[in-house]
Symmetry: C2
Subunit: 107 residues, 2 copies
Amino acid sequence: MKPNPDLLFKALADPTRRALFERLCLDGEATVGALTAGAGVSQPAVSKHLAILKQAGLVQGRGEGRQTHYSAQQGALAPLIDWTGRMNRFWEARFDDLEDLLKRMDQ
Amino acid sequence: MKPNPDLLFKALADPTRRALFERLCLDGEATVGALTAGAGVSQPAVSKHLAILKQAGLVQGRGEGRQTHYSAQQGALAPLIDWTGRMNRFWEARFDDLEDLLKRMDQ
DNA sequence: TTAATTCATAGCCAAAGAGTTATAAATGAT
DNA sequence: ATCATTTATAACTCTTTGGCTATGAATTAA
């Protein structure tokens, strides 16, 4: 239920998968057929990619008749945003230290 | 020189590699030997991972005598932060539309 | 000079991954 | 009831990847 960063990174590492997710983010809901039209791969390939994205918590599928409408899952990127933020923050912390050092040296 | 998101995602998709990068972010510079001690894999494996991280622009190596000091590259995560931000923003846009719709329905 | 240390590269292997075609399962249309 | 459509799964192939050992290249120590 709670998607760890590992699944997210792995899921988004593949360009085809990332393109699918981007499309769902930008254009909203879409059926497998519509997604297959845009992607450069076969329908089974798209279905497999969607399954992986779903497993990672990035998308959800809503069955309606014989077709499945997929959409991006809100908040799914939060762990990624957290992680990148943390890494950046620590770098800035060291940068602040350097600034402090330079300031002290300046006096 | 400008690291595209694909290289970044691919580089950070591997847990060992992500752990190396995290360590460099949190603890600053470290030699290959020191990094190998922490990682659960052989020294050649660490070297290969570092090469990939370097290729992605995530780290840099400073040769000093027979050892190489690696450190996290500042700003390297910017494309990732951009991308996640964009994806999130579009979702929020749709959310705002929904709010507008609900507000209009309310009247 | 010789020996030891540190890192990178080469070469190999097993596992994972992304793609395909074929087909099953479910639904909708005739 | 039959046929068509839509999606998911199965079975397979091929490539990529992450790991290892062995070794080379460069530097430092004895």
